[in-house]
């Protein structure tokens, strides 16, 4: 595969999956402008360091790694409270017919640390395999399993606390 073919493949991938990428970025920073900034930065970083993508079959895990790191870096740099605009907040407020426990769960996920949140999003919202999560985060599969398990337990205990309170 020539360099320009590789570039084309990555470019197509980025265009085709832009919605998923946006959602992932959004779930960290919770506002439109920051998410768009993250998308822009991630694309630039990815295409500029396209040589660091060794095998094209790792395209997804490679790009997700860049996206996640960029999102977390962004949060580090913008430690101040990120304000959610009112209309967006309204939009995201759960519809009334929804079951109450789900609302708590979605909220509980937001209260996890960025790394724990990453695990939940990749595994359950993005349906990524443990193997691919391990590749994305650059750790071994057992570590992913252990952390995922402890994150789930933390989620459960957080929610139990809430129910009691």
């Amino acid at each position: 595969m020539t360099k320009s073919e590789k570039f084309q493949l990555v470019e197509n991938y980025i265009i085709e999956n832009q919605h998923a990428h946006y959602r992932l970025a959004y779930s960290y920073v919770k506002n439109k402008e920051s998410s768009l900034d993250i998308i822009q930065d991630s694309i630039l970083k990815a295409l500029k360091s396209i040589d660091s993508l060794e095998h094209i079959q790792y395209l997804k895990t490679w790009f997700y790694r860049i996206l996640i790191n960029t999102s977390i870096d962004f949060m580090h740099k913008n430690k101040r409270m990120i304000v959610v605009e009112d209309e967006i907040l309204d939009f995201h407020l759960p519809a009334e017919e929804m079951e109450v426990p789900d609302i708590d769960l979605y909220e509980a996920i937001d209260h996890l640390s960025p790394s724990q949140k990453t695990l939940i999003i990749l595994r359950f919202f993005e349906d990524m395999k443990i193997e691919d999560i391990a590749k994305t985060l650059n750790v071994n599969q057992n570590t992913v399993k252990t952390r995922l398990y402890s994150t789930l337990r933390k989620l459960r205990s957080n929610m139990e606390k809430k129910v009691k309170a």
């Binding site: 470019e11 980025i14 265009i15 832009q18 919605h19 946006y22 959602r23 959004y26 779930s27 439109k32 768009l36 998308i39 822009q40 694309i43 630039l44 970083k45 990815a46 295409l47 500029k48 360091s49 396209i50 040589d51 660091s52 993508l53 060794e54 095998h55 790792y58 490679w62 790694r65 790191n69 977390i72 870096d73 949060m75 580090h76 430690k79 967006i88 939009f91 995201h92 759960p94 079951e99 426990p101 789900d102 769960l105 979605y106 996920i109 640390s113 960025p114 790394s115 939940i120 999003i121 359950f124 919202f125 985060l137 650059n138 750790v139 570590t143 252990t146 952390r147 398990y149 402890s150």
Partner: protein, 291 residues
């Protein structure tokens, strides 16, 4: 678990703004205009500082007279002790090597000086040979991207103490960074090791306990901080190695460092803790180096 899949719906419902499409295509165009380049792992070093250091180092290497002249300038004199080095670079398509080898000069204890310099050369030689082997292996299977970078930084340089940190970064897809530090007593011309500062092995426990407490405090204070601390169900940091990377600051404080990924996610980078002297007072042999 079904609850989790239900909240996936909320995730999927995140609104996609109209601007996204435009931003994506604009970013791709911008990237196309700029030539692809390999990302450096040493973002902490400002470009200006690196450039200035490169010129300085180049001139010191090229001209012994200049080096001599600089060493008589009070401030620069101390730096010149470690600034001269060899540099190896290979720039070959998707393979690149950039090794910067520090060289200590000016010690009268030549045995110490030579053993340090030989160690630095050996470290870089091992990196280089490892790289060549991997490069050949990769070429056989059709190529790939590989990079290795080593550099160093003078952490402390006072009248008494000289501390040099060397960083190695391997870039295969993502990067890992390891750091090793040598601390030299300039007056007595001896290499200081971590165990040599303490009466017995008790320091391992004292420092580990302190660091674990600090990690917990930092995590509680800010959820952006993430450390892996060992517990019953989690694998993670248990205790420092007897020869854990350490350094002594200009104001005589002990610092302990961990490599990237050693105790925390990669986003935290290389991590350094300063240990308050009060914590280790009981374990120290003397207050000569650490006060």
């Amino acid at each position: 678990m079904s609850k989790l899949y239900e909240s996936k719906k909320q995730y999927d419902d995140i609104e996609i703004p109209e601007e996204l499409k435009q931003i994506v295509s604009r970013s791709i165009e911008t990237a196309k205009m700029e030539k692809p380049k390999n990302s450096s792992t040493f973002k902490k070093w400002g470009a200006g500082v690196v450039a200035a250091a490169a010129i300085f180092v180049a001139s010191v290497n090229m001209s012994p007279t200049l080096a001599q002249a600089l060493s008589t300038v009070p401030v620069l004199g101390q730096i010149v002790h470690v600034v001269t080095f060899q540099e190896i670079t290979i720039e070959e398509d998707t393979y690149n090597v950039d090794l910067k080898i520090p060289n200590v000069t000016g010690l009268t204890n030549k045995e110490l000086e030579n053993s340090l310099n030989e160690k630095y050369i050996a470290e870089n030689k091992a990196l280089y040979e490892g790289f060549q082997k991997e490069m050949e292996a990769l070429k056989e299977v059709g190529g790939g991207h590989l990079g290795v970078v080593s550099t160093y930084e003078i952490v402390t340089d006072t009248d008494e103490i000289l501390s040099i940190s060397r960083y190695e970064a391997n870039i295969v897809g993502s990067s890992s960074t390891t750091m090793r530090t040598d601390t030299i007593d300039k007056k007595n011309e001896v290499l200081i090791t971590l165990p040599s500062l303490f009466k017995d092995k008790g320091y391992i426990e004292t420092i580990s306990t302190y660091i674990k407490d600090e990690m917990r405090k930092e995590m509680a204070a800010d959820e952006m901080n993430m450390y892996w601390i060992a517990s019953e169900e989690e694998i993670g940091f248990e205790s420092i190695r007897p020869d854990q990377t350490f350094s002594i600051t200009a104001d005589h404080k002990l610092t302990i460092s961990f490599d990237k990924y050693e105790v925390a996610p990669g986003s935290m980078g290389v991590i350094t803790f300063e240990i308050p002297t009060d914590v280790i007072k009981e374990d120290l042999i003397s207050d000569y180096y650490i006060k």
